[in-house]
């Protein structure tokens, strides 16, 4: 299937025809979000792309208004955020939406990424689609990190100090890169200014890459839980109203959970130390990044030993960046001919172990790096890399997949027959295409 299929858009009014002959933007929207055919068997795991686009809009809109009240100067940054919380009309709402919005953006992106890994969404011909997604994720991490520095609390300052310190591990140019990032020798006013500038810029770069991501998606079409490509028109339903109604429901439920945190637990996902103004002379007892970086933080600190010429500090930084870099080559690491984990029992097992491992590493990232925690983080890190570098290529060669259905429609009807059989009811009426 491809979106290169014939456009079915027919403008109804004279004005519509006039515009269509000059700038066929309505045609593009119609073909992409109305008539665009999506597999009929998409489950709720496939709604997170839509949820992510909503979250990007929420973050940009609240962020722009917050920027109207915020001052990126170390002398007044902390107080300016408190002014938003106290004196700006609905400022507390904007700020809590934005700070919790970052967390929920990451919750959605993690579900989205794991969904891709489960259903093999990265496999040919969707490699570029996947890589664009990885770029978005990297940009999100940079944006989130710099945003966390802006309130100029204790964790802002010390988190920035620790994370920019990673770059000094790079041989030869490390110190130079760190000084370029900081605008000096330590985190200070120039750092805050450039982070604010970049924090405002990066979301628009994300939006740009999202356009490419969606474009690539609409060229190849979506995958689906069976992993079998769309073969006939009967395998699909039009995006509107089918996918839009389903995505819409998922979005509202997601917003419900989001609202629960904004209004009832707004500081649950943050760190109390960030309500103390940054003090370069007082180091907090435990410096921890935001929760969504914790697995990578655990990987960073798991490398406590030198590997040949690579000392443990550089090794940790390489492991941390490697943990993200490995995602970029996933399409070529997976050697399986079958796309979806539904038909790959062994891959499915190791996939769920990877999910558990990621949560485990996240918890370890929040613990001090001492004693048994280090050993556990090393085991977790080992499994993380082994999953991608060893298991993924190996399983594709040795695993016997289950029998695949011939088409999406067959899989759907099979599921319905089974359901109807279980309920001991007469066979349910299949869809009209059947």
């Amino acid at each position: 299937m491809s979106s290169m299929q014939h456009s079915t858009y027919t403008p109804k009014s004279g004005l519509g025809r006039w515009i269509d002959a000059r700038l066929p933007l309505p045609r593009l929207v119609y073909d992409s979000f109305v008539a665009y055919p999506v597999p009929r068997n998409l489950n709720y795991a496939y709604t997170f792309g839509g949820i992510l686009s909503i979250m990007l809009v929420v973050q940009i809109v609240t962020g722009i208004v917050l920027a109207m009240h915020y001052s990126a100067n170390t002398a007044i940054a902390f107080d300016s955020v408190e002014k938003i919380m106290r004196d700006v009309n609905s400022g507390w709402l904007l700020r809590y939406m934005h700070s919790n919005g970052a967390s929920f953006f990451f919750i959605a992106v993690y579900v989205h990424i794991f969904r891709g890994l489960y259903y093999g969404s990265y496999k040919a011909p969707r490699e570029l689609l996947w890589i664009l997604g990885c770029i978005i994720y990297l940009l999100m991490m940079a944006t989130g990190f710099m945003g966390y520095v802006l309130p100029w609390g204790q964790m802002s300052f010390w988190g920035a100090t620790v994370i920019t310190g990673f770059f000094t591990a790079i041989p030869l140019v490390g110190d130079w890169i760190q000084q370029l990032l900081l605008g000096g020798f330590a985190v200070d006013n120039p750092t805050l200014n450039r982070f604010f500038s970049l924090h405002y810029l990066l979301p628009f770069m994300i939006a740009g890459v999202v356009v490419l991501h969606v474009w690539a998606l609409h060229v190849t079409g979506q995958t689906n839980p069976t992993g079998i490509e769309v073969k006939t028109k009967g395998d699909t339903v039009p995006f509107s109203p089918h996918a839009s109604a389903k995505d819409g429901f998922a979005m509202v439920v997601f917003l419900l959970v989001f609202a629960y945190f904004i209004f009832y637990m707004p500081n649950f996902l943050g760190h109390p130390d960030n309500y103390t103004e940054a003090n370069p002379l007082k180091t907090p007892a435990h410096i921890v990044p935001e929760w969504y970086y914790l697995p990578f933080y655990a990987i960073l600190r798991a490398i406590t030993f030198n590997i040949g010429p690579i000392n443990s500090k550089l090794g940790g930084v390489l492991a941390m960046f490697g943990a993200i870099a490995v995602l970029f080559v996933v399409p070529w690491l997976d050697t399986s001919k079958v796309r979806s984990a539904v038909y790959r029992p062994w891959y499915r097992l190791f996939f769920w172990l990877l999910v558990a491992d990621a949560i485990f590493l996240g918890w370890l990232g929040s613990r001090p790096a001492e004693g048994a925690y280090v050993a556990m983080a090393q085991i977790g890190t080992l499994y993380y890399f082994a999953f991608f570098i060893v298991l993924m290529p190996l399983l594709g060669l040795i695993e016997t997949p289950k029998r695949l259905p011939n088409s999406i429609t067959e899989a759907v009807l099979e599921k319905h027959r089974r359901k109807a059989g279980d309920a001991a009811q007469p066979a349910a009426a299949p869809g009209h295409e059947a």
Partner: protein, 285 residues
């Protein structure tokens, strides 16, 4: 096959979790002691839960405790007198209260700084001219500002408690900590714990066995006009609630708005779900 795989997955998860639990125990036994030595005891607060509101009488008492027992050392830089109307005071009362303070203003037309009575738009003046003076007067440790202390202090809840907290909406770690600290001083440290000179043993202190602040409250220290007991426990409760208000003055509006938003989203979710069902009714999927 499927059941074997499932069993293996469960086993793997089980091993991981038990390993983690084991490590936690080992860790507790070996490394440095964790502070606070005693976990805070949860208190009941009027502002807890989805419909929580501030108890204005309690906030007024807390303000009195702050002014009479704390404000000689602790500033509250972010709180303006005008916001005290939230506590149930009239505009005139706030004006009179602000005027009890002397605030530095200026420079005037002659270029001189001068003192004048406080206005409702002023913030609580600091007891010390600057951070250095505050530190110098207090054995090198400047007393922390009170504006955000109820959100800036919280004892880590640990796994799995922090997951239950999502469902119980536990967000009172700050005031719980303050209450426990203020009522947690003990005359003598148990054996094996060394208390440095000039510090006071308090197993509820978050970053050590003892802190530089002597017990700030004593029974009968502050007079209440509403018949509330004049005890350390009552003072501690009241001032912790007051600090929560100072840190989160819009808490009531937040929870009220939240209720409306939740109801709206629930109804909306129901409607969208019905729409979705209708759309997909004739489509096997």
């Amino acid at each position: 096959m499927k059941t074997i795989l499932k069993a293996a997955a469960v086993l793997g998860l089980g091993l991981t979790i038990s390993g983690a639990a084991l490590a936690q125990e080992e860790h507790a036994a070996e490394a440095t002691p964790h502070y606070p030595l005693v976990k805070p005891v949860e208190q009941s607060w009027s502002f807890a839960g989805p419909f929580g509101t501030y108890d204005k009488a309690q906030l007024q008492r807390g303000l009195k405790v702050y002014r009479e027992a704390c404000s000689a050392c602790h500033s509250m830089n972010l709180v303006a007198f005008r916001s005290l109307e939230d506590l149930g005071y009239s505009e005139a009362q706030v004006k009179a209260l602000a005027a009890e303070y002397q605030v530095q203003d200026g420079p005037n037309a002659d270029g001189d700084m001068y003192e004048r009575p406080g206005l409702p738009s002023d913030h609580f003046p600091s007891p010390f001219p600057n951070h250095e003076a505050a530190a110098a007067a207090n054995n090198g440790a400047a007393p922390p500002d009170f504006s955000l202390i109820a959100k800036a202090r919280a004892v880590e809840r640990g796994f799995p408690q922090f997951i239950f907290d999502i469902f119980t909406q536990y967000a009172e770690g700050g005031p719980d900590y303050v209450y426990n600290l203020l009522t947690g001083y003990e005359e003598k440290a148990p054996e094996g714990i060394t208390v440095q000179d000039g510090t006071y043993y308090n197993p509820h202190f978050i970053s050590g066995p003892a802190l530089a602040m002597p017990p700030p409250l004593s029974d009968g220290q502050v007079t209440y006009d509403d018949g509330s007991p004049e005890t350390v426990a009552q003072y501690a409760h009241d001032v912790a609630a007051f600090q929560m208000w100072a840190a989160e003055p819009h808490l009531e509006a937040r929870k009220k708005t939240g209720f409306v938003v939740m109801i709206f989203l629930l109804v909306f979710a129901g409607l969208v779900y019905l729409t979705k069902r209708k759309v997909w009714a004739n489509e096997a999927h």
